[in-house]
Symmetry: C2
Subunit: 225 residues, 2 copies
């Protein structure tokens, strides 16, 4: 059985559907780390209910002052607009975020007797987020295997690590994943802004995949690629 | 500058003194993960004040239900008496604890601009705790370096990783580390029990080092080795 780190975004929603489609029993874990877009946690709850998946939400909001300097957790830093492949997007990095979430999820997996912790990192994340790249994933897998050596057999995987977000959008459509319930926008408004980095990626992925985009955007930008 | 993971126990107290003696500026971070022996956090506070070190305490008590099954965090599991080299001591393992603490400390280190996260794992911990052994330490160092690649240069070290606790007791005496303020006992009473695994290790280390043991034990056991 696996634990899936589940943000409530498009990638981890498709990952949940993918694991269920492969008849892998899963439990989902979400983290409230004081992100500006905590709206994604409501999406996570709805999607987990829709898919009939047990869902745990971990409150890490008291880590927020420790992880300062990111636009996602620090109100004094603005969320940049534009494409992931821009230097300005570095403002959306939360220091060591994925190692923190993966470590806690691994502790939960061990206490529940599960063998895998999976997360939705994909190739489109690589440019900006080092903690989504395969070398980190493999090193973290090794670290948690050694951390629990002789106690439990548990590892980390990111099945979409070499896939584009376009491929994920296609896979989601094929699996009938409830992406219409998912939340991407970093800005934390009532609707997707349509201009921040993750909205831009979402718009382009649906367009490139030839899949209807169910999302309502405050600013409707036509996909450029 | 370094972040030291500081339990308030003997090993991390000597580590703090050791880093200061080497003129390495340090900040200390402690974790309340719902451990039965949260008494150690009071010790951590006093020692950090004595040494003039900035000290952050992170409240992770809401992780307690996620990390069930350990005698340190689960009231339904008893703390075993005896020596670390006994099978019963496995009940004191908290699933993936060190990876969780190191990951959070690394996030803090990055946001503070520090280059190292150090912790007090030593050779005496190896038999029972896989997350104190050198292979884990090296893999975790690699994982956090890759997680922050291009963002920050930060790594993990355990300077005492090949030292015995006896050697740590000797070093503490040499450096005049305030070990008399430190707390080891897992049981969470008002005084050290003198019989649990970590009290046993503490008693033996002072005796073997030929260093007067300043600790008051509820049950005074003579060191056997």
């Amino acid at each position: 059985m696996s634990v899936v780190i589940f943000s409530g975004g498009m990638d981890s929603t498709v990952l949940l559907a993918y694991e269920l489609d492969q008849s892998h029993p899963v439990e989902a874990i979400s983290f409230n780390y004081g992100q500006r877009h905590a709206r994604e946690l409501a999406s996570a709850k709805w999607i987990a209910e829709r898919l009939g998946v047990n869902h745990e939400v971990v409150d890490l909001t008291n880590l927020r002052p420790l992880l300062a300097g990111s636009s996602l957790t620090d109100d004094s830093v603005a969320v940049p607009d534009g494409h992931y492949a821009e230097e300005s997007m570095r403002a959306t990095i939360v220091p060591n975020r994925n190692a923190i979430m993966l470590s806690i999820a691994t502790g939960w997996a061990v206490s529940r007797g599960h063998e895998w912790v999976k997360f939705g990192a994909h190739a489109g994340d690589h440019f900006i987020y080092p903690d989504c790249r395969p070398p980190f994933i493999y090193a973290m897998d090794l670290a948690v295997r050694l951390a629990n050596d002789g106690v439990a057999e548990v590892g980390i995987d990111a099945p979409f690590r070499t896939m584009s977000k376009t491929a994920i959008a296609k896979l989601g459509a094929k699996l009938n994943a409830p992406v219409e319930l998912s939340w991407s926008c970093y800005k934390g408004g009532d609707t997707h802004c349509g201009t921040c980095g993750t909205c831009t990626e979402r718009i382009e992925a649906f367009a490139d995949a030839g899949v209807p985009d169910p999302t309502i955007y405050a600013t409707q930008v036509t996909a450029s690629s």
